[in-house]
Amino acid sequence: MLEFVPGAFSSAFTFSILLCLAIGTVAGIIIGALPGLGTVLGLVMALPFTYVLEPGPAIALLLAIYVSSIYGGSISAILINVPGTPQSAASVFDGYPMAQRGDGALALGWATIASFVGGVFSLVILVMLAPQLARFALNFGPIETFALIVFALTTIAWVSSGEMLKGLLAACIGLFLATVGPDAMTGQVRFHFDNLFLSAGLTVIPLLIGFFAVSEILYQAAYLKDVKLPAVTSGGFKVPPWSAWKPRIVTLLRSCGIGSFIGVLPGTGATAAVFVSYADAKRRAPNPEDFGKGEPSGLIASESANNAVSGGAMVPMMALGIPGDGGTVVLLGALTIHNVIPGVRLFSTQPDLVTLIFVLLLLANIFMLMIGAFGANVFSRMLKIPTTLLMPLVFMMSVVGAYAIRSNPVDIIVIAVFGLIGFLLRMNKFPPAPIIIGFVLGVPLEMSFRQGLILTDMNVLLFFESPIALVLFIITALIVLGQFGAFKALSRAVGRGKG
């Protein structure tokens, strides 16, 4: 494949391709930053434009949107406490507190560089190991996927910020919401109340807008006097010094690895990957108590992992023609329309094209870094808009975006209803993140479990015969037991304090 690299670079460095990369990056960052418009919708909106383009520029435009929209979500997460995409839901934990204390520029610096490292890391994995990893990932059948999702559910403990019971309850709400709509195992529709629109089920973006954006807006409206708004600094983009990076390099690389790995595997997805990465960073940190209060490690764990998923999810798409998540489904469709058919044959029949796609992906990451760094000045000016103007605008854009995804009026009602519920939960100190974790994992959890039961003829014990699943179950058990241990130590400490 190496012999195609010079050719790929020379065909990538044409005016039309570079222009498409620049346009795609700017558009992707804006789409990602606006709550309601996510990666999938961004790709869908760009699709018609690519029909009039040659395959090269068309693929460049789509890849740039794919990569930079994931990054864009962090900007609104950091600056206004509303994640722009589900993949940046964990970036609010530490990004927003940093902005609140006046370090918005620094937070954007951490997030941008972490996103770039995550993207390039996963690209290297994609280039070096795509066929091998794709083959390895095939070992993850229903039972292994079930074990992985059970493991991913343990992350709820780390995002519940000391309110474990409320976090678990919130996760149950999310799991329940995931059951609305068609039951993939039987085709029957559940909890639709004879409403056609509800029979299509709920989707994550309206829930995210309800629980994060609308409830935040209501909260700020109700407690405007008490809400500590981000300090308006001179704004811009500050690269954190090397001394601050050095102790966090291991966290950064681990998060890149987690993101790439989960991206390659079926069923779990980018949103779950960032929570797994965040929980891992918090568990291993010497200062877990700082997480959620503006610890840069939390932000880089989340932002490097979500961009690392981008390359990981492309592994099964490129090597097997089987898309790993919503974004790659649209990418696959777009490539098909442009007469590029990913699958087992692509690497052998069109190695020059595969190399070009890799080079474009690299350039898309570089464009994201540059435009993100230069654009930060503009983004941080958002904070100079008075909250009373900014928040209604955010709300309006969110609703429009959520409706545009599939033109289903239920999605607007979901935003309103769950915005209100989210507000009540927030007042009672229920963390919203576990609801989203429960929701995104609910469908694959149920599906893989029931598939596993069919395959084992309803014998759950056979789940433990799979070595991969067994290892994952043991890790999960250790983590859960560790949590109980922590509880005991805590209650003992509290008891001593009282006594």
């Binding site: 068609p182 029979s199 097997l320 489904v329 696959l332 058919i341 599906m447």
Partner: protein, 309 residues
């Protein structure tokens, strides 16, 4: 006199308006998300139709619930030729029997069929199975699992029909869709997938027999199910263009002609074939009969497997 003038005026304005159809852009509803298989299948035809009709076609994706959300919205649209839909076999001929929807076969006027992909029975290349007879022998010895989209989908019906025709049992493991099932087959967790031939080849699966009356250009070495010594089963995934019931005859004829010309272009044929699909034009009269027949046949099939309500 006054009335005559009004009538004359109406005729004078109405006739050229019809002759000039379409005089504005046409909205085409695709009841699946953008970038999905049905969406891609229409986007290949879109530029051809736009050139022939001289008006832009605006695709509207309304996904969800096997296409029924979009199809139900479409059935209630004005039948003036400016609202069309591009829908597959499942949404139009199986879903109405599976669940409570607000449309049936009389809600639509079929215009033309554009793509028809015969399905094939396939296994993993690592399975050691290379013919239908070996697969059926395996099913006779022990459990053979079969994967595919949720029950009621065409791949599910087709695999049930194959098992029934050979008098064996396949244990069905539902997946999100064909590609997820292909992953389980390649990983060795599930044994059989019945899916369109193009997808099977693209996933790198081993096709055993195509459920069609003749061999395909895309896979000339692949025997038909009859040649493999099996029952004459015919299953395919097809896509077609529809108008709401009650659309004027002249408009339907114009669209039928445009569809025939559009699907005949070299560019269209090449794009569709390269994507692993099989171009298949069926004109309005033939397609209408075919559609109503499929609607009836699938109702019977679904009640035979106990899924029809």
């Amino acid at each position: 006199m006054k009335r005559t003038i009004v009538a004359l005026a109406a005729v004078a304005f109405a006739t050229p308006a019809l002759a000039q159809y379409p005089e504005q852009s046409i909205e085409v509803l695709v009841p699946f998300n953008a970038g999905s298989g049905p969406d891609a299948s229409f986007r290949m035809l879109q530029p051809e139709l736009e050139e022939i009709l001289g008006q832009p076609m605006v695709v509207r994706n309304v996904g969800g619930a096997g296409g029924t959300v979009g199809a139900a919205q479409f059935a209630a649209q004005d039948a003036d030729g400016y609202y069309l839909a591009f829908m597959p076999v499942g949404t139009t001929t199986t879903q109405p029997h599976l669940r409570d929807v607000t449309y049936d076969d009389t809600s639509f006027e079929p215009i033309c069929m554009t793509i028809q992909d015969p399905m094939a029975v396939s296994v993993s290349p690592d399975s050691g199975i290379s013919s239908m007879d070996e697969l059926i022998a395996r099913a006779g010895e022990g459990t053979v699992t079969s994967g595919g989209p949720p029950p009621g989908s065409l791949p599910h019906i087709a695999q049930a029909a194959v098992a029934a025709a050979y008098d064996v049992d396949f244990r069905y493991v539902p997946h999100e869709g064909g590609s997820a099932a292909a992953r389980s087959i390649l990983g060795g967790q599930v044994d059989v997938l019945v899916d369109p031939v193009g997808s099977i080849i693209n996933y790198g699966l081993q096709p055993l027999a195509v459920l069609n009356d003749s061999r395909l250009d895309a896979a000339p070495d692949l025997p038909t199910i009859d040649e493999a010594g099996g029952p004459p089963l015919r299953y395919s995934i097809w896509f077609g263009l529809f108008a709401p019931a009650g659309t004027p005859e002249e408009i339907l004829t114009a669209l039928d002609e445009a569809c025939q010309a559009g699907t005949a272009t070299e560019r269209y044929q090449a794009t569709v074939e390269n994507s692993g699909r099989t171009p298949r034009f069926m004109a309005r009269d033939e397609f209408s009969d075919f559609f109503r027949q499929q609607y009836q046949d699938n109702a019977e099939l679904l009640s035979a497997v106990g899924l029809a309500q």
